[in-house]
């Protein structure tokens, strides 16, 4: 089966440091891949290069087999319509109401009439268990968990083929984090899309992943099914999963 998303030999140097050093990954349709790794190991850069927010120095990003990094902007914009993304801090637009945030793509990219876009936004709010009475408030008035729900609603409203999650549970209390994890699993199943998440929250990774890949020093050092994580046979994975300071990975403090 053709991978929905494929990264081949992705390299990126930032401020003289080789952040990505030949990343090879692929995600099949309907599967959820979680990339784990310590802070500063290149997880966010991998996501940004994949999403076209950053240009890789070398390598390829293939979506449904088509290489997108060298595509003209207009054509790449069409491919980008297959993507949905939940940002770490939700990245909701301060100047717009919650429903306008959720329906942003429908209104401004798909030119849907505002009335229809609002209906779709409220329907999606219900899906992520965000009460419709919050539709007209500004994002600043929402709690962290509610902002994540609104961000998730914005990511899924256009029914994307590939969903990306950047640290979806960071900054949330354990109960809210678990509720967000449940929602992610539910939405990925409902949309039958491929999902790529980056996190260093292991309970979250175990819950939302079909497969886990570990990124260290710009390289994928291990990849396997979530069920095999505890028997990975990789010292770095074992140290990371156990959360130990001693081991092959040196903590930078």
């Amino acid at each position: 089966m053709t991978a929905k998303l494929q990264l081949i030999g992705l390299k990126k140097k930032l401020r003289g440091r080789q952040v990505l050093d030949g990343i090879d990954l692929d995600v099949a349709p309907g599967t959820s891949l979680v990339i784990i790794g310590g802070s500063g190991q290149g997880k966010s850069v991998t996501l940004k290069c994949t999403l076209g927010l950053m240009k890789p120095d070398a390598g390829q990003v293939l979506v449904d087999g088509a290489e997108i990094t060298k595509m003209p902007v207009e054509i790449r914009a069409r491919v980008m319509r297959k993507f949905g993304m939940l940002f770490q801090g939700a990245a909701l637009f301060d100047s717009l109401s919650v429903w306008e945030n959720i329906a942003f793509r429908l209104i401004y990219a798909d030119n849907l009439p505002r009335k229809d876009a609002r209906e779709r936004a409220i329907e999606t709010m219900r899906k992520v268990r965000l009460a419709p009475e919050f539709a007209d408030v500004r994002p600043i008035e929402l709690s962290g968990g509610m902002q994540k729900r609104a961000g998730l609603a914005r990511a899924i409203i256009a029914k994307p083929d590939i969903l990306f999650f950047d640290e979806p549970t960071t900054g949330l209390d354990p109960i809210t984090a678990d509720a967000i994890n449940d929602l992610i699993v539910e939405m990925v199943k409902e949309l039958n899309c491929a999902a790529v998440s980056i996190t260093h929250d292991m309970p979250s990774a175990r819950k939302i992943a079909d497969e886990i890949a570990m990124l260290h020093n710009g390289k994928i050092v291990w990849r396997g099914a979530t069920s095999t994580l505890d028997a990975s046979g990789n010292a770095m994975v074992d140290q990371f999963v156990a959360g130990r300071a001693d081991g092959p990975i040196q903590a930078v403090v």
């Binding site: 999403l51 993304m85 401004y108 914005r154």
Partner: protein, 257 residues
């Protein structure tokens, strides 16, 4: 051994590189104005924000400058018995120079800083990245409407500043300096030529472009959290002011020649 010319060379190269980046950004902003999709609602909102909400600050600046100008010209003119030229020089000074320059400087503070802070905050909180992932070009949605709104509304604001500035001079001249009101206005309008007003409006449009592009450029390229946004805001105001004053001279020299 440390080469004493190395820092000078580095700074010079840095200035050229920054100028190049700014020029590319400005060119992309212009291209975004003329290519679809057009966000008309955003343009309307920005015209309101940049134009309408700047009216009080422009009006207050103009009335006081017009009044002070009248007093100064009266005192200066009295040294060679030319007090009667107050209306002529006030209208000339306001329309050709002080109206557009002061409006530009005031808006560099109000608008350029506002644009840099807003877009800078959007940058550091990943809202601009989010917009890109939502299939919307931030240049077309955020920057083009602000630049176009500033270019369209600044000439209107300067026209208002011209009228209020002349009225400021009129009020002082009639109430404090003993001028006859009707004569003052007649001298003002008789002396004023179309090209004086046109020069001011051309300057205003160019200053509007500088103000919006500088604010957007600094905000769009900001990084490093609140500190970075603060730095972007300061750079936007300083950069816009310096460019406005330099370009003001160039436009004036071009029209004079």
């Amino acid at each position: 051994m440390i080469n004493p010319f190395a820092p000078i060379g580095r700074s010079t190269l840095g200035i050229f590189a920054e100028t190049g980046r700014f020029s590319m950004f400005a060119a992309r902003a212009i291209a975004s104005i003329f290519s679809p999709p057009y966000f008309v609602g955003q343009l309307g909102r920005q015209c309101f924000q940049i134009g309408y909400l700047s009216l009080p600050v422009i009006g207050l600046t103009a009335v006081f400058i017009g009044a002070a100008l009248a007093l100064n010209i009266y005192v200066g003119g009295a040294r060679f018995n030319a007090e009667s030229f107050v209306p002529n020089i006030v209208v000339l000074g306001i329309t050709r120079e002080l109206g557009p320059v002061l409006a530009g400087l005031m808006l560099a503070g109000r608008v350029s800083a506002g644009i840099a802070a807003e877009i800078g905050t959007m940058r550091v909180t990943e809202q601009i990245d989010a917009m890109t992932t939502l299939s919307t070009d931030p240049f077309k949605f955020l920057i083009a409407p602000r630049v176009l709104a500033a270019v369209l509304t600044l000439p209107v604001l300067v026209l208002v500043a011209d009228i209020i500035g002349v009225m400021g001079g009129y009020l002082v001249a009639v109430n404090s300096l003993g001028f006859n009101g009707a004569t003052y206005l007649r001298n003002t309008f008789n002396f004023l030529e179309n090209q004086d007003v046109i020069l001011g409006l051309v300057k205003a449009a160019v200053f509007g472009f500088i103000i919006a592009v500088m604010g957007a450029y600094q905000g769009y390229n900001s990084s490093g959290g609140a500190l970075g946004v603060g730095r972007a805001t300061t750079n936007a105001v300083v950069g816009a002011i310096v460019l406005i004053l330099a370009v003001n001279y160039l436009i004036t020299a071009f029209f004079v020649e």
